[in-house]
Structure formats: C-alpha cells, structure tokens
Amino acid sequence: MTDVMLPEELLTALNERFPCRAPQIRRLAALVGTDETPSPPALVLHGLEATGKTTILRAFLDRTEASYTWVACHECVTVRQLVERISAGVTESVGGGDDAGRAGDVCALGVRLSVALSGAERKHFLVLDRVDRTREGSSVLFAALGRLGEMIPSLTVIFILSVPRPRFLSSAEPPHIHFAPYTKEESIKVLSKYVRRIPFQDIEEYTEEDAKEELYVWQKFCGTVWDSLAKGTARGVVQFRAIVDDMWEPFVKPIAEGKYGTRNYSSLYLLHKDMFRRETDVVDMVVPAGAGEKAATKSESTGNPPCVHDLPYYSKFLLCAAYLASYNPARQDATFFMKSNDFGRKKRRGGTTGPTKRTAKNRKIHRRLLGPQAFPLERLQAIFAAILPHRLSSSADIQTQIATLTSLRLLTKASATDVLEASTKWRVNAGWDYIRHIARSVKFDIEDFVAE
C-alpha cells in the first residue's frame, strides 16, 4: 500500500490499542497524513454508536501531533453557540488572532476563520464531533460548514456522525471512512483487552498461568453472553461490556471459591443457566434491580409495609374512566354504561358458532394497539359517574383531581384549545398494566368494560 505515509511504529501502536480497526486507521493515516501531505477539505467519519470513531480519531490526532480543534456539537444548544465555539476554539488553538467581534452566524464564521488561519503554516483540522446531533441544525448549516475547508486552504473539516445521508454536505462527496459495528469475534477481541480478574480467595501470587486461565474463561464467557443476551439487545461494545461486567462476579464466584476449575466451563455454564435467561441485566434502569429488591426486603423486615404512594380514591376512578374513554369507541358507551343494561356487564357472545363471516371480513387491529384516542371531558365525567359504585354529586374536588392528574401527566390535553373550553379533547397517558393495577386497588372490574 502506498497510502501509508506515517511511521510504521505509530500505526502499530494504534492498532495495538484499538484492535480490529486497522483499515480505518490506515485510511485516516492516508487522509490526515502529515503536515507535508495534502488533505481533503472535508472528511466524514461515520458508524453506529460505540464503534470507536471519536476515540480513535482523537488518539490519532494526538499521536501525530496535528493541530486540531475539537468541538462537541451535541453540547451546543443553538447554532449560534456552535458557531461561537468553533470560532473561539480555532482562534485559541491557532494562537493569536484578534478578539474583535464575535461570530454570530456561519458567514461571519467563514470570515473569522480565514483571518485566523491566514497566517498558519500548518494544516489545521476542525473536528465536529456528533455533528448530526446538533440541535437546530439544518442541512444548509452542514453544507456551509463543509465548504469552510474549500474556502480556507489550510483547513480540513472532519465530521463525525452516525448515519450519513446522501448529499449530506450538498457538494461533491468528500471521502468517507466507515466504522463498521464490531462482529462477535471482534467484540470479544476488544473485550479481551479488559480482562477482569477472578477474585480468588486463596491466592498467594498472581502468575502468568492464572492470567492465561482468566483470559480463557473471560473469552468463553463473553461468547456465551453475546449468544444468549447481547446479540439481540446490546450490540454496541460499551453496552456489551456493561452486561459482561455486571454478570462476571456472580458467574465466577464458584471458581473463586475453588468449587470449580477454570477448564470445565460447560458445567459452570449449566450451573448458571438461569442467569442467561433473565433480562434484568439487559433492561435499562436508573436504579439497578438488585439494589431495589434489597431495599424492599429491608423495609419489610423492619415491619413497615413497603411504601406505596396512593392516589386518592376518586382519582383512581377518574383514571379508569379516562382509560375507558380513550380505548372504547364512543358509540359503544351505551352498551357498556347504561344502568338498565344489566349494569354494563359485557354480553358474552355464544361461543359455539365460531367466528361469523362479518368479523372475518373486517378484522380489526386490537384497540389497545392503536393508542389512546382523544375524548371530550364531558364523556369522561359521564363514564366516571357510571362506573362509580355509589352516587356522588360532582363537586369542585373532582375538577381539582382532573387538574392534578393532568399535571401528573396521567391525563394529557389532546387539542390546542383552552383548558376550559368544553370542546377540548383529552387523552389518557397510562398503560393497561398501570390502569389494571389501579382498578384492582379500588375493586373495580375494569376488564368487564373494555371493548375488544
């Protein structure tokens, strides 16, 4: 290959640090190069989350001691902030430059950058990290940023983004470097750089042999986790590592205790079979599942019932009524809620005849899958009155509770009109499980009232 113009040992070091990224690093070496070689005006690095774009580029630029400015676009709230950051960053890293004025928009930015870089002897790189996550960003903005490199000869703009769109920069396509997601083998290889220790209980000294054994178990384990859990849920190498980290300690506990040897992996796997079926390590939660359970059992042991914050009695009925109003078609209200009609019990269809022709003809999507429909407040109140076990003369308290439910976002306003307008529509914002739980707590059989 002729495109390698950097010292060979630098590339080897980088390849050592970032396994499985050799082609990308080589391309970077060709396009970024040294100060003597020319660089294209713009360059796009793309690839999904956790494929090493940012880390590798930063390490590369640091190693080659290139002059560069790094701007994290996802930290910028407005375009103006982005532009000012670019301007300030470039001025700072090039050194000198006058302080007069600030770059309010892209045009001013072009002028300021060309002034700042006019005296520069070296190539300068402007890295726009996660440029596709810029808030308020428009295609015009990106196109203009892409042209900066064409206007200023010594500048190269490097875009880092996840998925490139065709004609993203509205110009002749700049060189793209694709960071492909890691495959299973590659992921395991990457993770093998961070082998976790087995916390042996009786260990005198840590030998080569132990390290080798650990690596063996680790790689086997990573493979199992990938096949059982991560393949479907966490393909990013970072998430994959988080899962492996979480599961590692309990998994190797028998080895640490000396019950199992390192080499009979399959029996260890059988011992922990359950672990690979559970989803707790895969589902993202703020409070880790294990910690929450511990706290719950603790409070039980001290005698206090687990803390459950309850909605007021009528709020629960209001919420049930809102759910019914959202998920039942309005024209069936009479069947469900008329007092004369056996108090709303659902008519059981005769099970013997089987599906009739008509139902077969227009098969419908289940209403629960269609999402909540909007309803006027009057309907909610009518259903509320119908499902209450006793009569309640409506007072201002009911209205207050509707307002409270709205500020809890369990009810949301569905139309843009004023709250007090009678024609304003509302919508329930809680799932079936939550509603069923609430209905049970007030002994209301909501199943009987839900249309199929």
């Binding site: 930290e75 459950v308 009695y313 201002a396 809890l408 024609s423 799932g431």
Partner: protein, 732 residues
C-alpha cells in the same frame, strides 16, 4: 344539589354605588394613605403600622350589634393567639416529618461521584407521592439542607414552569448555580474584585473566557469555569416535578449533563409523583442509560396526617377541637379527593376562623388557662347567649330532674351565678377533650400491640368516639378479647408502651404494680424452667385443630394441665389487667354517661359545623348553575313562576329566557336545529298571546343563546348546517 336558594340576605347589603356608572373614590382613613418613604423614619413607621394592623379587627360585631368593642377585640386576639400556637406546632411537625428522607438524600448527595456509579450521573429518585402540594416544601427543605448544612455545592431546583425550552432551563440553571453561594467564599470574591472591571466581577469573569470572548448565557461552559474555580463542589440539580416536564426537554437536559459530567460534577435529584416505571417510560433508553443511582421513599402522607391530627385535635395542648361531622368530612375529603396535608391544615385553620368569626361565646376559650377575668368580660348579652346554648339547657334540665330547683332558678335568673358557673365548669369541659384523647391514645396503642393486622389510626377512632359509635362498635371488644390471650412478652411490651405514651394516673397507677409482678413472674419462670414466655390460660390459638366438641374439651383440659404454676399466676394477673382496661375504656367511651352531649358548653370547645366547610372547600358550581337554569323559581321565588301547591311547573313564558332555552335544550339531542329551537322558544314565550312582538322575541332568543354559549353549553358545528352542538348534559 342541596344548595339552598339564597333568601333575602343580599337585600340588606344592596349597595347603590355598585350600579353607578362612575363615582368618586374617597379614602377611608388617614393612616391608609401611602406615606413617602423616608429612610430615617421608615422602620419606626413600619412598627407603628404593624401595631395598627394588629389592632385592626376583621371580625363583625355580633350579638345583634350589642357586642362591645373590647370583647370583639378580645375575640380576635384569642383567635390570633390560639391559631398561632397551633400553627407553630403544625409547622414543627411538617418540618420534622421529612427528616429521614432528607437525611438519606443528603447522605447520597454527599458521597455521590460518577466513579461510584459506573461513570453515570448519580441520580436519586425521590418518590414523593401524588400530593403535588407537598413537593415544593420537600424540595425546598432538601435544597436548604444541601446548601447550608452539607455545603456540597450549589443546588438548583427546576420546576416544569421554568422548563419551557432547553435554552431557558439552562439559563436559569446557570444563573442559580453560579450566584447561589456568593456568601460562602468571600475571599475569592474579593480577590476577583481586584481584577474585575464590571460591577459584578464574579459573573463577568465567569462569562468571559481567557480570551475575553463572551460566552452565551446558556452555555454550560460558564458553569464549567465556575466549577474549576470551586474545586470539590458538586452541582445538584433537583427536578421537582418530573412528570410535568416536557420529555424532550428533560432528556435533552440529562444528555447534556451526561456529556459534561467529566467536567462538572452533577448530581441529579428527580421528584417522582407516580412511579418509577412511568418515569422510565417517559425517557428514551439511551437517556436512562446515562443515569444510575438509588430511590428514596418519602414517608407516607397518612403518617403525617396522623401526627398532625393527634397534635391538633386529641392532644392536651389543643384548645378548640373538631366535632364528629366536620372531622368525618375532612378525613373523607382527604382520603377520597385530595390526599394533601396542606389542605387539611387549611381546613383546620378555616375551622378556627369561622368559629371565632361567628360565635361570640368563643372568647371563653381565651380564659382556658386562667378563668379569673372571665366573669367581668361576659356581658348580659353573652349570658343570654349562654342560656340559649343547647348544652346549657340540657344541663339545667338535668338539674331539674335531680330536683335542685334552687340551683335552676339561680341559673335562669341570676346572671352573676351563670358567670360563676361557667368559669368553674370550663376546665371540666376542657378536660373532657383531654381525657378523650388519652383514652383514644390508650386504645390505639393497645390495638397496635395486639391486633397487628388491622391497625386503625387514632383519627378514625376519634369521630366514632365522639358520636358514641365506638362503645357499641367492635373496636374495643376485639382489643379486650385479644388482651386476655396475650403472652407475657407481648403484654409487657404493651404495658411498656402505655407507660411511655400515656402517662396518666388513671391508667398507669393500677397497672404499674401489675407490670412489676409480671416481670417478677417471668424472671422466676426463667430461673426455674428456662421458659421465657408465659402463656395465658385463655390463649387457645396454639392448637387450631379442634375437631369435635369432645376433643375440644379434652384439649382444653390438656392445656389447663399443661400450664405451669407461673402460667396460672400470670393468667390471674392478665385477668386484672383486663379488668382495669375494661373499666377505663367503658368509663371513657360510654356515651350515655360520659358523652359529648352532657358536656356543658361543648359547642364552644368542639367546632362541628359541616356546611361552611363543604360550601367553601367543595362547592358544587355545576349543579348550582344547572339548578338555577332548570328551576329558576327556586331562586326567584316569584309568584308568576311558582304554582300554588309547589308542584313542578315545567316551561313557562314568564321564566327568564335563558332558562327557557336551557330547558328546551335539555330535551334535544346532540345536534340542535336552530330553527326548531327558535320556534319552540317563540311558542313558549308568546304563550297564548296572538300578537307577541316577534322582534323582541328574537332579540331575547339571540341574547339567551349567546349566554348559553358563554356558559359553555353549546358551540357552532360544521357537521350540519343550521345546527349547533350540545356540549353538556345535566346531572353529571
């Protein structure tokens, strides 16, 4: 629907000025005129003004205008004094209530660091319950605590009102975080002032970079610079009402925090009113992945209610207590509608207010600690009012039944004697409330020690006790029965609790020796046989399998024989405890001898008017409007609309036009043809008259239809031409 039509109350208060087009505004008094502010006299004036304010009495003159100025003022002062004391105690309870949660969260914040949470934002999920009104207080307390006590750094409380967009939120966040602790490190301030040029050097230096390019005021780099100069400080962001936040803004914010985490040590507190699951549903997974932490439960609001209730109504410090029906109303409203402590306290204050506002005899409450001056204060009118109080009448009748005729004559004729009696008796009346509270406390503790399953809090027992239901209800019987079956460990625990919580001689004195004896017995048993718990002979729960009557007898016999000597002695002692508890509870809750009805002047010590509360706190606007429109005769009370025998009258031409329209409206379907409505209206309003002016009728029709639209009953619709849509149904 029970709203009574107002009578002629308003006629007296008719103010002609209200209907005047323009009038001259004259000031009431000199002292109300705003004085020019002068710095020298400002403070003095303020104190003077406060004194005037305090003396200004907002209460009306009662007793048919014969109440003297001094008693009026006394009434107001008594109200202020009593409520102030009560409010102080309530506030202390509210402040101390969250202390556990506060401690936990502040400990979390103290040792939170991203390294401990896998490089994620340390997040405390505060499950604060659905009572939104208390959240502000909680977060205020949290912020105070972290800011002043722990001093871990600035705290910014964000509410959904601040967070209309990402930019405004960040602006507020940065402003609050950087300005907050200016008082904390003064030296630095001074050091900055030397170099600074602006009047606010710290801010301006934060706003500028090293190159003096100004940063935008929503740029988190300002905060980053600030953090660099305040090493070791954490920035705590408290999101008070996470539910009400726009989820996009919230997730953007959290993502931003996540990306700045390596430069600004953020700690997140998230207030959740519903549940963690709903919070998780609200945010994208990638955002949730950025947070890691723990959840903290705020104590249940019922606990707080119980404490406040016990303090304000059953404790011996309380002066004015609530009666059974108000109490029922408040608790029901709490349970079914609001679940808010704040509204409960508000309602309590309202009870105080309306009691002192409208009851001239309430001044008696001011003399509760020292009845000396009471005789002089009570005027002839007051005494007359006392004689009209039902409990006084009952008292007199009681005397009459006891044949104390002389006494009765004096009570009815001699004013001074009444004054004397009242001064003597008020202490007794007050003690009634105190004793009741103590008995309830005893019962509650007893029940909680014996029946762990169904704990009934004191506030639910209270109303029952006042209305006399408690004596006949199962609560006492259950407790006494299980008391008999208690083992020695449980009984000693119960006695210990009672001694601590209810230190009253009536119950502790007879129980103390028994407690000693039981202790001794247990020690003896432990010394001889190693048995630590003595069982009562009434305890038959140990063997639940009793098949037939014969085997039951056999088992009973067996059990009796298996009892040791100490067990038998213990059983005798249990019997004694039982007898004491029974007699104590019967005396206190016996409604015929010891009921509220027999307490002289209980009307003054127990506020029991339900209607003001329900009218003020739970009004029924909708049914009132509906009634006004559908039955205008209820309000107008005119001869033309009312039939002679008070029967249903239906629609009549003499009724107000809006009312006619409304009644026609009720009869129609969801869409109303305007022309049909008009012709019906015309036929009603014209009645039998052949030549009713059609133009007048049309004008009335238009006006009343506009009124209907204004009230939100109808609206235009595009579904059908010449139709309007019906929006409200009656009786919902």
């Amino acid at each position: 629907m029970e709203s009574t039509p107002p009578e002629e109350v308003y006629i007296d208060e008719f103010d002609p000025k209200e209907h005047q087009g323009c009038y001259i505004f004259t000031l009431d008094g000199e002292e109300d005129r705003p004085t020019k502010r002068r710095k020298t006299k400002g403070k003095q004036r303020a104190t003077e003004k406060a004194a005037v304010e305090e003396e200004k009495c907002l209460f009306p003159v009662l007793l048919d205008g014969k109440e003297t100025e001094s008693t009026l003022k006394l009434r107001y002062r008594t109200y202020c004094k009593l409520w102030e004391a009560q409010e102080k105690r309530t506030k202390a309870i509210l402040d101390s209530f969250n202390s556990k949660t506060l401690g936990d969260v502040s400990a979390f914040v103290k040792d939170a660091a991203p390294e401990k949470f896998e490089g994620k934002i340390p997040t405390a999920l505060v499950l604060a319950g659905p009572n939104i009104a208390s959240h502000e207080l909680l977060f205020e307390q949290l912020a105070q605590r972290i800011r002043n006590q722990d001093r871990t750094g600035p705290v910014v409380v964000l509410t959904s009102k601040d967070a209309t967009s990402l930019k405004t939120t960040l602006r507020k966040l940065i402003r609050d975080a950087t300005q907050q602790d200016e008082g904390v490190d003064d030296e630095e301030d001074i050091a900055r002032k030397v170099g600074g040029v602006d009047e606010d050097p710290q801010r301006s230096s934060l706003l500028t970079r090293s190159q003096s390019t100004k940063l935008l005021n929503y740029d988190l780099q300002i905060l980053q610079t600030w953090c660099r100069s305040h090493a070791g400080q954490k920035v705590t962001i408290a999101i008070q009402d996470s539910e009400a936040f726009d989820s996009n803004v919230l997730s953007d914010l959290i993502t931003l925090f996540g990306s700045y985490l390596d430069r600004i040590p953020f700690v997140l507190l998230v207030g959740i009113a519903t549940s963690v699951e709903i919070f998780h549903d609200k945010l994208p997974k990638s955002t949730i992945r950025l947070m890691r932490g723990n959840k903290f439960d705020v104590e249940r609001a019922e606990e707080c209610l119980a404490q406040i209730f016990n303090d304000s109504i059953t404790s011996d410090k309380a002066v004015l207590r609530l009666g059974a029906s108000v109490c029922d109303f408040l608790l029901e409203r709490y349970r079914d509608h609001t679940q808010s402590i704040q509204t409960f306290v508000g309602a309590l204050k309202y009870a105080y207010m309306s009691h002192f506002y409208a009851n001239p005899l309430s001044i008696i409450l001011g003399f509760i600690d020292n009845p000396d001056g009471l005789g002089e204060v009570l005027s002839t009118e007051h005494v007359e009012a006392i004689r009209n109080v039902p409990s006084f009448r009952r008292y007199v009748e009681g005397k009459l039944a006891a044949k104390e005729v002389g006494e009765v004559r004096k009570l009815l004729a001699d004013d001074n004697y009444v004054r004397h009696t009242v001064a003597e008796k008020i202490l007794e009346s007050r003690n009634y409330g105190i004793e009741l509270g103590q008995a309830l406390a005893f019962l509650e503790i007893g029940r909680s020690c014996t029946l762990a399953q169904n704990k009934t809090p004191r506030y639910e027992l209270y109303a029952k006790a006042l209305s006399g239901e408690l004596q006949t209800g199962p609560s006492i019987r259950e407790f006494l029965m299980s008391l008999k079956r208690m083992s020695s460990t449980a009984l000693l625990n119960l006695l210990e609790n009672v001694m601590q919580e209810v230190p009253i001689p009536a119950i502790t004195e007879p129980l103390k020796p028994l407690q000693e004896k039981i202790k001794k017995l247990v020690e003896e048993a432990a010394a001889s046989g190693g048995k630590k718990t003595l069982i009562s002979e009434f305890d038959i729960t140990n063997n639940t399998l009793r098949g037939t009557a014969v085997s039951k007898k056999v088992r009973l016999g067996e059990q009796k024989s298996s009892l040791t000597k100490q067990d038998t002695e213990y059983s005798a002692l249990v019997q004694q405890v039982y007898a004491i508890a029974e007699s104590y509870l019967t005396v206190n809750f016996n409604s015929s001898q010891h009921g509220l009805q027999n307490v002289l002047l209980h009307e003054i010590f127990f506020y029991d008017l339900r209607s003001p509360h329900s009218a003020v706190f739970a009004p029924k606007p909708r049914s009132t409007i509906e009634r006004g429109l559908s039955r205008p005769q209820d309000y107008l009370d005119c001869s033309c609309c009312t039939s002679g025998d008070g029967e249903e009258v239906g629609i009549r031409g003499t009724q107000p036009p809006a009312s006619i329209i409304y009644q026609l409206y009720l009869e129609s379907g969801a869409l109303i043809n305007i022309y049909d409505l008009w012709s019906a209206f015309y036929s009603v309003i014209a009645g039998d008259e052949e030549e009713f002016d059609a133009q007048t009728a049309q004008a009335l029709f238009y006006r009343s239809l506009a009124e209907m639209r204004f009230l939100g009953f109808v609206k235009h619709t595009k579904k059908k031409t010449d139709h309007i849509a019906k929006l409200a149904w009656k009786g919902i």
